[in-house]
């Protein structure tokens, strides 16, 4: 035995390193990067289109200046600015809803549409586009005229609201969150089947119109419609921010969250409603936009290096806006030759980026 006075077991080994909170510089940098990309993409998305408007002119027009080319101001103000704002809002809303669903279901494959939102919206739109109005080609045109863009948005919103209400109704009686997920998926399948039946019996021109809607698009949303889209996305997204603390607890699973004082049933309900609101309103105006809602949360986690929702939510909102804007720019690439389907572009641009990030940073998969 040594003659050294006995010390507590812990201090026998050399004193432990001081315990400090991990610094958040990486998270802050990542968020700034997403914000920067979103800003640049916002301006570029206005610059591209059938007519190229140089970014410097775009910036001066946005800040109230004039440009030498007559007509550019009108193009920016009436067409491209609403388009860019729509893309930003839709991307942000879908990404935030995606984070919510992935955390709620603790499932990396979850996204804004797992509870049947897009299937419901698709069914609503299919019902209006495929069956409304008299039969015959003139009837289709009349139907489109009668309902218009806003009519389609209302149909999509109603469809997703009905499916969501059914899911909520069933999930009130269900203890396990995994069951809620399965119920949502099943409702989605049923509604999808009904849509398929509608398509099978519809005229080719109407099917064409429905398909175009299902490709997704940020174009054609007017300022009036933005006055509906923007407040809903901003308000619902802001409300999600207030659940960040409890979403962090939910990462450990519902039983641990419960033991930390979280009202799990309440947070579950709030999360489902807010994410449905976000995904529903986006789908109503822009169609079912796949990919962004599932991919951006992974991109954000890998970039920030944390799952803390107080960083993850705003970063995902910025990243979602950035990815939507980049996809919109990609869709405009053919220039005068027309536009590419948005859903094709989001996947074509997004998938390689996500694969690269996730594979390089293998922890991201464990990370969710």
């Amino acid at each position: 035995m040594s003659v050294v006075a006995p010390a507590p077991a812990e201090s026998v080994t050399d004193s432990p390193p001081p315990v400090r909170a991990p610094d958040r510089r990486r998270a802050a940098l990542g968020m700034a990067a997403f914000g920067g990309i979103a800003l640049v993409a916002f301006v570029l998305a206005i610059a591209v289109g059938s007519v190229w408007i140089p970014p410097s002119d775009v910036v001066s027009i946005l800040f109230g200046g004039t440009s030498e080319q007559t007509g550019w101001e009108a193009i920016v103000r009436d067409i491209r600015l609403p388009r860019s704002i729509t893309a930003s809002l839709c991307g942000a809303g879908l990404a935030v809803a995606g984070v919510q669903m992935q955390t709620l279901f603790r499932n990396p494959l979850a996204g804004p549409y797992v509870l049947g939102i897009s299937s419901g919206a698709s069914f609503g739109v299919a019902l209006v586009v495929l069956t409304a109005g008299a039969s015959g080609t003139t009837g289709f045109l009349a139907g489109l005229g009668a309902f218009g863009d806003l009519g389609i948005a209302v149909a999509a919103a109603a469809g997703s609201a009905i499916v969501l209400s059914l899911v909520l109704l069933v999930s009130r009686r269900v203890e396990s969150i995994a069951t809620v997920l399965i119920v949502g998926l099943m409702f989605g399948q049923v509604v999808l089947a009904m849509t398929t039946v509608l398509i099978a019996g519809a005229e080719p021109e109407r099917i064409q119109a429905y398909l175009v809607w299902s490709f997704g698009s940020f174009r054609g949303v007017s300022w009036d419609e933005l006055w509906i889209l923007a407040p809903v996305v901003v308000a619902a997204g802001g409300a999600v921010w207030f659940t960040a603390k409890h979403l962090n607890a939910m990462l450990l699973g519902e039983r641990y969250a419960e033991s930390l004082g979280v009202d799990v049933r309440r947070i579950r309900r709030i999360t489902v409603i807010l994410s449905a609101l976000l995904a529903g309103v986006v789908t109503a105006f822009a169609g079912p936009i796949a990919f962004i809602g599932v991919a951006v949360p992974h991109l954000a986690r890998a970039t920030l290096g944390t799952v803390d929702h107080r960083y993850l939510l705003p970063a995902s909102a910025l990243g979602g806006a950035a990815m939507a804007l980049v996809a919109e720019i990609g869709a405009q690439l053919p220039g005068r030759a027309g536009v590419l389907p948005l859903n094709a572009v989001t996947a074509l641009i997004g998938a390689p980026v996500v694969i690269w990030v996730v594979v390089r940073n293998t922890r991201a998969t464990a990370g969710f």
Partner: protein, 361 residues
């Protein structure tokens, strides 16, 4: 700052949790209610380490879920630091009682420190911002469980034992009066299990936490618990110091089977040998004791020979400069020199077993 001194002071004596005629079980719709553990009176004092022991399916988890308020009691009540559990709000309950569960958590991109910091949730505001005091408590909890080196590691890349340690730190950071652990040793290897026992003992004795830990790990319970709640397959609950329950034969009754025999003095179970003989081992030191063990393992009664019994086998253990040597002689055979116990066992196994189990008893 003295890192090992707790920041908060807790009552060092007196009950922190008690139950009165608490019945736990399940009420399901359209089914008769199922009582799992009927009417029990339990007390946990500050600084006490209680181990809830029982075979699988005895109702340990149900009882723990009921005392922690996750599952409503069928009848009776639970008091937590003086107040009825069902009158406490969620947050207040979380400030008094922390839980560590069996389930593995599947998160990555979360630093050990951040995991422990989640324990501050019942104490922080709506957005969970940590103030300096919260950071001090988190750091203190991490040091208390000996996990300083894990603070900035991603929990996705830790071992089960390391993650369990951080989950306990998270519970400590919650500053509870009562800490409840449901089968915390389930996924752990031997070393981690023993370390966990020592840790729980420290948390109870040095920090004054009332710790209740369910396990079917008998060794751990008997070696560390101040009090054992022993639940048998019929949901009968017996309470006492581990040694009391060993002395009364309760542990032997609950866990013993036709093949297993409880040794109250050692606190371990041993297999009842099927066929056996008598052996004497002479010699000194560890090698001799291990030789006794080896012979016991292959079915010889080698410890103390009963009065008047003649050994069937004798082993002489000799310490030679080249190493230990075992001289084995069996009845009517020449002495055999063995260099290790494996050779001893192999040699003896080749011999016919001299007696039946009944004779040895």
């Amino acid at each position: 700052m003295g890192a090992s001194t707790p920041i908060t002071t807790r009552p060092t004596a007196g009950p922190v949790m008690s139950t009165s005629q608490l019945t736990s079980g399940y009420r399901a719709r359209r089914r008769p209610p199922r009582v799992v553990v009927p009417a029990v009176d339990l007390t946990v004092s500050a600084g006490e380490l209680v181990t809830l022991l029982g075979p699988n399916g005895a109702g340990k988890s149900t009882l723990l879920r009921t005392v922690s308020g996750v599952q409503p009691a069928m009848s009776g009540s639970v008091a937590l630091v003086g107040d009825p559990l069902d009158r406490l709000g969620r947050m207040e309950r979380a400030r008094r009682l922390a839980t560590v569960l069996t389930e593995r958590i599947a998160v990555g991109q979360l630093a050990g420190y951040d995991l422990v910091a989640l324990g501050r949730q019942p104490h922080t505001g709506w957005n969970g911002v940590l103030h300096q005091r919260d950071h001090d408590i988190v750091a203190d909890a991490i040091v208390a469980v000996g996990a300083s080196h894990l603070a900035d590691r991603d929990i996705g890349e830790l071992s089960d034992g390391e993650r369990q340690r951080l989950m306990i730190a998270r519970a400590v950071a919650q500053e509870p009066a009562v800490l409840i652990l449901d089968e915390p040793t389930a996924f752990l290897d031997v070393t981690s299990r023993i370390e966990l026992g020592a840790l729980l003992q420290r948390l109870a004795h040095e920090r004054g936490l009332g710790v209740v830990c369910s396990t079917h790990d008998l060794d751990l319970a008997l070696a560390t618990a101040d009090t054992v709640w022993l639940l048998d397959a019929e949901a009968d609950l017996r309470i006492g110091a581990p040694e009391d329950l060993a002395l009364s034969g309760a542990i032997g009754q609950v866990f013993g089977t036709a093949e297993l025999e409880f040794d109250p003095e050692r606190g371990t179970f041993s297999r009842r040998p099927e066929v056996a003989g008598f052996a004497t081992v002479t010699g000194e030191g560890l090698a001799t004791r291990l030789c006794v063990r080896a012979l016991t393992r292959i079915g010889y009664h080698a410890d103390e020979l009963p009065e008047g019994a003649a050994p069937d086998v004798t082993v002489v253990v000799r310490d030679r400069p080249v190493g230990v040597e075992f001289l084995v002689s069996t009845q009517g055979q020449n002495e055999r020199r063995c260099r290790d116990l494996r050779a001893v066992c192999e040699h003896l196994r080749a011999q016919p077993m001299p007696r039946t189990a009944e004779e040895v008893r």
